[in-house]
Amino acid sequence: MMWKEKYKIGVDLIDQQHEELFRRVSEFTRIIRSEENWDARIDKVKETMAFMKDYVVDHFNEEEAYQAKINYPELEAHKKAHASFKEGIENYVKIFEEEGFNEDRIQEFGGKLMTWLIMHVAGMDQKIGEYVKSKGGQIQ
């Protein structure tokens, strides 16, 4: 999963966090796709899941705080999209708690997580950058 320069929205804090999210999801994807024995990978999968859950929440909170600061007109719609992204992750966390870290389910989660992240950053988040530009430049 590749981070692309075109994903940058021109706000340093958000761009750095997006890049870190891509790095982590990419690492997660590499681990779950590796040919190594599943039992040997499971600890790394659990560790990445725990990190992702917290980091995604922190990132979304900071992104929403930034949007509020700049009076971003689509803040409410963006909050809903974040809530649905978080709900998607939490649903899988619950499944893993109930069913254990089943490899098929982790693969299914990995495919969705990758798609959600690319779509959110390449799509919805770009509008924040467009708004900032329309207001005359970077507001940190």
Binding site: M1, I32, Q107, E108, G111, K112, T115, I118, M119
Partner: protein, 154 residues
């Protein structure tokens, strides 16, 4: 079936493909087909409920599916496993959600039922006389179809 249904799904598919895999699909020739069916390798069925009721079927050849997931993940794929089918299903889900947002501009309020993924030929689970519209979309990595079977429910 109205042109706005087709146009909304085409625009949504074009935008999502451009954003996610840097590919702009071109419209092929629209066909009228008997019911929802397709013999391509990976099929994703989305249910639609609300002012419009019916189903949408996204159908992809195997090589195109693997190439798309490779572009998304940056990793080689040799089979449509849970990871690949889940990513493909989610892309179709996003296209469907965006198409329904576009249709809301024509005063249709609808929701999507979560995607069902079928690997292998898709056959409808009920025999009906319904006609569906099949829109082929052409890309440099292969041709896929969106088949639309929607009825007004107002």
């Amino acid at each position: 079936m109205k042109a706005e249904y087709i146009n909304s799904f085409y625009k949504a598919a074009k935008d999502v493909f451009q954003l996610m895999v840097d590919i702009e699909p071109q419209r092929g020739e629209l066909k009228l087909v008997e019911n929802l069916c397709n013999n391509k390798d990976a099929n994703i069925e989305l249910g639609v409920v609300g002012d419009l009721k019916g189903k949408i079927l996204f159908s992809f050849p195997k090589d195109m599916t693997l190439e798309m997931v490779k572009i998304l993940s940056g990793m080689e794929m040799d089979k449509i496993d849970n990871f690949a089918s889940s990513a493909l299903g989610e892309m179709a889900n996003i296209i469907g959600g965006n198409a329904l947002t576009l249709l809301s501009q024509y005063n249709y309020t609808c929701d999507i039922v979560p995607p069902q993924i079928y690997i292998g030929e898709y056959k409808p689970n009920s025999i009906g006389n319904d006609k569906a519209l099949q829109l082929p979309l052409l890309t440099p990595i292969g041709e896929f179809d969106i088949t639309i079977l929607l009825k007004e429910n107002k």
